[in-house]
Amino acid sequence: MLTKFETKSNRVKGLSFHSKRPWILASLHSGVIQLWDYRMGTLIDRFDEHDGPVRGVHFHKSQPLFVSGGDDYKIKVWNYKLHRCLFTLLGHLDYIRTVQFHHENPWIVSASDDQTIRIWNWQSRTCISVLTGHNHYVMCASFHPKEDLVVSASLDQTVRVWDIGALKKKTVSPADDILRLGQMNTDFFGGVDAVVKYVLEGHDRGVNWASFHPTLPLIVSGADDRQVKIWRMNDTKAWEVDTLRGHTNNVSCVLFHARQDIIVSNSEDKSIRVWDATKRTGLQAFRREHDRLWILSAHPEMNLLAAGHDNGMIVFKLERERPAFSVSGDSVFYVKDRFLRVYEYSIQKDTQLIPIRRPGSNSLNQGPRTLSYSPTENAVLVCSDMDGGSYELHILPKDSYGRGDTVQEAKRGSGGSALFVARNRFAVLESSNQVSVKNLKNEIVKKSILPLAVDAIFYAGTGNLLCRAEDRVVLFDLQQKIVHGDLQTSFVRYVVWSQDMESVALLSKHSIVIADKKLAHCCTLRETIRVKSGAWDDNGVFIYTTLTHIKYCLPNGDSGIIKTLDVPMYITKIFGSTIFCLDRDGKIRPIIVNSTEYVFKLSLLRKRYDKVMSMIRNSELCGQAMIAYLQQKGFPQVALYFVKDERTRFNLALESGNIEKALESAKKIDEKDHWYRLGVEALRQGNAGIVEYAYQRTKNFERLSFHYLITGNLDKLSKMVKIAEVKNDVMGQFHDSLYIGDVGERVKILENAGHLPLAYLTASVHGLHDTAERLAAELGENVPSLPKGRRASLLIPPSPVLCAGDWPLLMISKGIFEGGLDETVKDAHEDYQEAADADWGEALDIGEVENLQNGDISMVLEEENAEEENEEGGWDLEDLDLPPETPKTAATARSSVLIPPTPGMPVSQIWVQKSSLAAEHAAAGNFDTAMRLLSRQLGIRNFSPLKSLFQDIHMGSHTYLRAFSSAPVISVAVERGWSESASPNVRGPPALVFNFSQLEKKLKAGYKATTAGKFSEALGHFLAILHTIPLIVVETRREVDEVKELIIIVKEYVLGLQMELKRRELKDNPVRQQELAAYFTHCILQTPHLRLALLNAMTVCYKAQNLSTAATFARRLLETNPTAENQEKLARQILHVAEKNMKDAIDLNYDFRNPFVVCGATYVPIYRGQRDVTCPYCSSHFVPSQQGQLCTVCNLAEVGSDASGLLCSPTQIR
């Protein structure tokens, strides 16, 4: 039993789940009805109008209503939205036991101790039927969920099924209903609209409860005889099917589970029992210490049950609904029903893999709880609570998942939890302080004692375990047996590692702790609702689900809601903005969310301002929450860009010190207060212009004057005098003139203001004698006396250092937001600048190293003296080094038992033995035999061009493995054609550094160089091909033919190019030039090249006035349908000219009508029928005099020597 919620209260007699909201009603013995939110665990409302115990309560399916019935004989219908009772139905004459709404009609059925059942219409608020027949208290009555039936249970020891079909017919139209009002009484005792269909007798004592099966024609009842009985009915009769015995006291309530094939009952014996409805056996009993149980209720849609007892109620679930799953790379493995399935995210494909053991039906909640998957071994560990904790190890079939008749038997074992700790090792929690590590054969490899008592273990990277104890988790290293980290947390239920294994999220019931890989605490999140699951996204944001929401958690602990959920979901993996969830039915559901908010916050957090900017520009990120967030996090300048409201904008601008923006806003708002604040900020920043402007706008003349004084703006100051005069502001005028130092003005002001003595004093002190005298005359007697002995001087304000303008500000680069957002110009290059610099530095270093080496290499080479090192020389190793006969004395003790094995055969030697391919001999380092083979097969005599090839192929045949420190490295032979299924210890042929595809690439390069007219370069390519081919090995016959073809192709090019190069050397021999050009056209070339050769020959001949020959080339050129227009045009022109004058100026040794080949050495035509000799390798033709010479085309073989032919594939030998 999984308790989800519990309350403490007076005895609970009635319970009802709300069908949509997480609410439950509990009616108490004290007369109160409570409305609880069982998810949040809060009391939403209480309804206290009944007098005495309330035994029955029921929510309406769709309306905001519920009904209750109590010992005050009253049925009350309530509206929970209005928090009040709507009306009361009176009629019962004794306690009311149960009340229930009909699922579609506006009816309520009630059962009462007055031995009747009544059906009420809550719309007309009348009783529409009274069902009589029981002759004792009716303990319960309920409608059938679909049919027109009512079942009731009574202390008269019977269960009755009532047919209310007639009642239904009568109320087809509402008019009828009203009509019926009058008739009701006449029907009162006739009871024609509700008749007893069956009376079920069988219980020996009073029956407390009876209820219908939701879909089948079954009834279950519980009675004071401590028995639960199952009844079946058909159209005509009903009979007892079976009795479930086990309760030790009165059975108070019993019902069928809606989703599983079980019956749940509770009793005054303080237990809840679960029964298998098919096998009719007890599955489980949950006992409570002190509380007798009174009522059961099932949620109409979800897998929830509630039970009321003496001291409150509990909301519970019988079985866990979280599907066991394990994410690995691109797929998630999970259990649905009795099968292990896999879902591949990238292709969104769901596959059923293997059946897994059906949970033993003798108890509940034994299904798979966790999964652990090892991708390399394709093995799955399924853990369940079966037999007090056990696991099954399944090795998945490799390729065909399909119908598994050959599914391997799973290996089983017991243990608290089991999980893979390495690809072929898993750890099993044997007891609270011992873990054993097992291999895939389910054999214990080792045991480890844990440092503390642990109740579960979780994955924590290869070789590590996360151990959960009561109030903490520790990171335990299985190999070293030490604790790497320790973290105090509340009881951890699930552990989710980030992909890089750098961070871990520990999920508890109501909190999430994020820690790093050493379990150092990063942040803690608290939730009021249960946390269900979570996963890390690619950016390091933790996305999790609660019962009701998908939420995110940033690395700094900030969290927020992404999406609301209707039903609980278990996140498995996150790809970008798609969250893959498993629901409770084991279905994978991709949920696409808007990740903007958290990505934005993350970017801010990581200071990725460029990203922040692009997000601001591109997306709609608005709302007070975001602004508040930005402000709170110290980014008012960013928030500025989200705000439309000018006042907020103004405040943000001030906060971020962006005076221009503030000014903009202030202009739009144009309120005194805002101007004032702008002025204050501008003053703080020393922005005189704006200060002035702000003062002007606020008409704060005194400040303005002082501002002008400070900034030394005397012109404006004198204007201020005038303004003050106009405004009749004497004091201001006086101040201003004081600031300017205008004595005359001051005197005038004082005089005008009637302060004649002061005016006089001012005038006389400053030496304005005329005025002083005039004033003295006016004052007459009252001329004040001037202080003696003092010298007066005019007080002139010092001129400011800087006149007017703003204060100089330090040049600071504008924030990325200001610059970037306003002008949409990014200047994010600064960061990269540095990086680039760093690279330069490194590049320089490399250069130095290189220089150094180039200098030194020759030295090293010189130092090398020819030392014989025959480590790999295959033949030589055969003479064994026999161990010295005299072992050292001290070592005898050890060596006496030791018979040192004779050294085995190096792989290279095996290669040689098996092979008659020259390349493989060369790879093995047996150059001698390799050469002999080549000489025999291809008549090769000149090996010097092959030197580097031999060396490369030899060097590429072994890799080097540093094994034990300071000991000599192991060289390992690289074999060709590796495949996963190759059996070990069977040596394959050596991997060769040259392969056919490389040659093809080279051929293309050669073609390209030819087209471009880079003949020596092209010749180099073709010769390289020709030189490499003897060391090529291919796998198939077809490829052998291709290689042979390649030789011919390349040979032709080599010959042609050699002739062409020769021709270019012979500048002063036009005859020979023409001949060579002509022969060139008879090499087998690619069409474009042939065209070029023809064009070339044509031009040469034409220039030499050999028009007839030129014409033949022109004709041949036209026959190739040249694509280039100018070629065609030229050919036609020449043809045209030649036709007029068909003759040759010079005779050439060239008869195009007579087929010929060109001698590779002397470049003369060898016409058909003439004797020639060939190169055994490249098959170039030569005049007989060349017999025994080195082939000038391939530069390898001896012309005319015997050879067995190219051997380049093992297939040729077999």
Binding site: K888, A890, A891, R894, P903, M955, Y960, S966
Partner: protein
Amino acid sequence: MAAGGPDPLFGLRNSFYLGAYQAAINNSDIPNLSADDAVERDSIVYRSYIALGSYQLVINEIDSSAATPLQAVKLLALYLSNPANKEMTISSLQEWLGDPAIGNNPILRLIAGIIFMHEQDYNEALKHTNAGGTMDLHALNVQIFLKMHRSDYAEKQLRIMQQIDEDHTLTQLANAWLNLAVGGSKIQEAYLIFQDFSEKYQMTSLILNGKAVCCMHMGTFDEAESLLLEALNKDAKDPETLANLVVCSLHLGKPSSRYLSQLTLSHPDHILVKRAKTAEESFDRAVQTNA
């Protein structure tokens, strides 16, 4: 080793085995070591220095009063630092091995094994190492047998190691060596072992090289190249990285001469350099015989 409390030298040893020599040296300051552990610690540190090529430092720091294992380590440093004088080193090694009081010291025997391996006198090496006793010795045995191309014997040694501690780093490493040597499907297992290491511990050029070698044997030279370049980033002078880069570049048809000259310059004794030299000579010789 299988029982007992946490091993204070675990991390140090692991770093050493996996080629994180500098890390081993840096993290050698472990408090509360027993005398034996301290000597072992020092020997690992000095061997790390040797692996890094700082022979002289080792020779200078270990004085004549140091414990036998350290003296043995010093011998190794002497041997490797001064090839001209190796006869003397070997003779003193033989002398010590003959001394019944210290001749049985596992580290001395280990060093003897290493030195005789360098001498390519595998029988002599085995005489001292074959009896085993420590994981190091067993691992060295595996390597000696592999050098002798006797993977069957190597496998037997590996079985012994697996019985002692299957998850020991050296057991895993030795398993990988053997897998590589026997080839075929085992290469993938070797790759997985190196893969495990790379997930579990910090990447070292040894692990990267191991992975790269596996890749080359499996024919994925592109992946091998990227691994090796990563290794080269970590340590531009690592001889195996350079040697394997030469091989890998050859197979990819890329120029390899730079790596080869770098290797020749920094490690003229490396087996690849020797091979290249030998190849050149034997080519010339073969040309003459075939002329």
